[in-house]
């Protein structure tokens, strides 16, 4: 992690930090490509649960859940430039909120989602306040600490009555409502799909708005952003909050889909996985979240097939090779491809 020095006074080319997709010229044709890709993806997404077995549906659901979490992380890191190695903590808070509401109060699972979101927003916002003073490595460390500490907090004996301590909470899987002809796996898939879509659209709107520009301005040059009237501390904290909201909703969904949570479900490896997903998908490129989710969901399995004893090593190796092949993530690769494409169409 490097110290954040985007504000250096020396006109050196600043360290590249990811992708910024909006590009000139053939932008319209790119937009068309992207839109077509989006429609195809949507169609596949709707058809998938009817074409695959329950196990794959479950995996795809988890993939989308991770994607939502990564989307949240992307808002914070990719758009606002604040590192977080602790998003697993917000995922955990969301999951516990949902589980406790269902387990202790018998509240319907659908209600737990917005509540988890709101609670995580508040937690994220509050965490964002002290985090304001920290930059780069220091922030990364503080968030990492959060990731390490959170599972311990959920184990704490005074809360055991709520959290069931280390034993965790078992949740039952909801059936499809309104007599829809879907099995529980399919239903949860569509629920996640819909929420994911909503989350994505909102994130995209946000990034393209005044708020989004303010967030990016802070990322690129906090001092100048302040001088342009952006209330930097407020926006940074809000970015933390919104980011946590996304991740928290993902956590709540994850709890419902997995049907079980315990402190061990949310160790710092989860946070690390989310960061890996973010980078592989492309920092600052929102659709990348889906690819990041797929990566952290499926690649460990591939690694395991290649070698059981050395699955960790294989996974690590894949990660590194991935970074050589696409150092700026899939988003960066796509950007390069689109630029090349539009250049060719311009030359013609």
């Amino acid at each position: 992690m490097s110290a954040n020095t985007t504000t250096t006074a020396d006109g050196q080319a600043p360290a590249k930090q990811g992708v910024s997709l909006p590009q000139p010229a053939a932008a319209t044709s790119n937009a068309k490509i992207m839109r077509t890709a989006g429609v195809i993806l949507l169609a596949i997404g709707i058809a998938a649960p009817f074409l695959s077995g329950n196990f794959l549906i479950f995996q795809l659901t988890m993939m989308m859940i991770y994607a939502i979490a990564i989307l949240g992380l992307n808002i914070l890191t990719g758009i606002n430039g604040q590192f977080s190695l602790g998003h697993g903590a917000f995922y955990a808070v969301g999951a516990y909120t949902a589980a406790i509401m269902m387990d202790q109060f018998g509240i319907g699972y659908l209600w737990t989602l917005p509540v988890a979101g709101i609670i995580c927003f508040v937690v994220g916002f509050l965490f964002g306040l002290p985090a304001l003073r920290l930059e780069g490595v220091y922030l990364a460390l503080a968030t990492f600490a959060l990731a390490v500490v959170t599972p311990q907090l959920f184990k704490l004996s005074p809360f055991e009555h709520w959290t069931s301590g280390v034993m965790g909470i078992v949740i039952s899987k909801p059936d499809a409502p309104f007599g829809l002809p879907l099995n529980p796996d399919q239903w949860l898939y569509f629920l996640t799909f819909a929420i994911g879509l909503l989350a994505y659209v909102c994130a995209r709107n946000l990034v393209g708005s005044r708020t989004g520009r303010a967030l990016m301005a802070i990322r690129d040059n906090p001092i100048a952003a302040g001088s342009m009237g952006v209330n930097t501390p407020l926006f940074k904290s809000l970015a933390f909050g919104v980011s946590a909201l996304y991740t928290g909703v993902a956590g709540a969904l994850g709890a419902i889909v997995v049907q079980y949570i315990s402190p061990d479900s949310f160790t710092f490896t989860l946070s690390v996985a989310l960061v890996v997903g973010l980078v592989v998908g492309g920092v600052g490129w929102l659709p990348g979240a889906l690819f990041g989710g797929a990566f952290i969901m499926f690649v460990p399995n591939i690694a395991e097939e290649l070698s059981k004893g050395l699955s960790g090593a294989v996974y690590g190796l894949i990660m590194i090779l991935m970074m050589y092949a696409i150092p700026t993530g899939l988003g960066g690769l796509l950007k390069a491809a689109l630029t090349a494409l539009s250049k060719r169409s311009m030359n013609r």
Binding site: D10, F83, R133, I223, V279, I320, M323, P327, T328
Partner: protein, 291 residues
């Protein structure tokens, strides 16, 4: 009162472990302005190499220098083979590579040497002081840490290579413009960090026992110590390491009920609090940014 003294001493002894690791963390930070997440695993691997040599019957006094040299070379090799091809990829891509390295080294060590804990002999022999609160080994460890600290301080502050390394880490493009071989500085940084890590591993293993996951949490404490003291200051790192050890032990002992369960959270909470008031750590230099 007696318990307080005992916990203070135990805290210092444990803090010594963290200080040792924190030094390695600061070393690499000075050289590349990154936190290397694989650092702990590299240290662990070095220690296994030492262990293996001992198992093969290489005499102890030869094992330590050999391990340090091998680790140095290993660090340089990792930089050349793994990090270099990344070029100027964004910071986060580097982080992912560190995470990948972490996974590889950890998994490899488990594959080669298994996960059973292994005793590692202390270079300072058995025996202890202060009624067993601090072993001779821990005293030796603290002494070595202090020595390394002084050497590092002198290296960075008073040697030209040290200056070149700082310059290269801060602004590689400008460093090239004054003729600093940035690539080699970075490789040297990795080598030195790996060598210091090897020393740390050899010092830590007799206390926590050698196994592939031994550094998992120590690295976190090392980070915490380094950050508390200030990543730009070796002195700060060592001080921070001791502080973390002491704070943690006192919190665990004196905060009733949940103190024991919350040892780590409390320590980390205090650190974050310190950072909020002193964002670059207690001893860290504040680099003023102008517009």
């Amino acid at each position: 009162m007696e318990l307080l003294a005992q916990q203070l001493i135990t805290g210092i002894a444990t803090g010594g472990i963290y200080a040792c690791m924190a030094l390695a963390v600061v070393m690499i930070y000075q050289a590349i302005h990154h936190l290397n997440f694989a650092q702990g695993e590299m240290a662990m691997f070095s220690t296994f190499i030492a262990w293996q040599m001992l198992a093969w019957g290489v005499p102890y006094w030869l094992v330590i220098p050999l391990t340090v040299v091998v680790s140095f070379a290993g660090g340089v090799a990792i930089e050349r083979l793994v990090i270099r091809p990344l070029g100027d990829a964004p910071v986060l891509s580097h982080i992912v590579v560190f995470i990948g390295l972490f996974a590889i080294i950890n998994s490899l060590a488990g594959f080669i040497w298994d996960f059973t804990i292994k005793p590692f002999p202390s270079p300072f022999g058995e025996g202890s002081q202060f009624g067993g609160l601090i072993s001779n080994h821990q005293i030796g460890m603290i002494a070595v840490t202090m020595t390394v600290l002084v050497m590092l301080f002198l290296f960075f502050q008073y040697t030209r290579v040290g200056l070149a390394m700082r310059a290269a880490a801060e602004n590689p493009a400008s460093a090239r413009l004054v003729g600093i071989r940035v690539g080699w500085m970075i490789a040297l940084g990795w080598g030195m960090a790996a060598a210091i890590g090897a020393v740390a591993g050899i010092l830590i293993a007799p206390i926590v026992f050698l196994e592939p996951n031994m550094m998992l949490s120590i690295l976190l404490y090392g980070f915490a110590g380094a950050v508390l003291g200030g990543l730009t200051s070796p002195t700060g790192a060592v001080f921070g390491g001791f502080m973390v050890g002491i704070i943690e032990n006192l919190a665990g002992t004196y905060i009733p009920e949940i103190g024991g369960e919350l040892k780590l959270p409390i320590a980390l909470f205090l650190i974050v609090t310190v950072l909020v008031f002193k964002p670059t750590g207690l001893f860290g230099r504040t680099v003023v940014q102008r517009v």
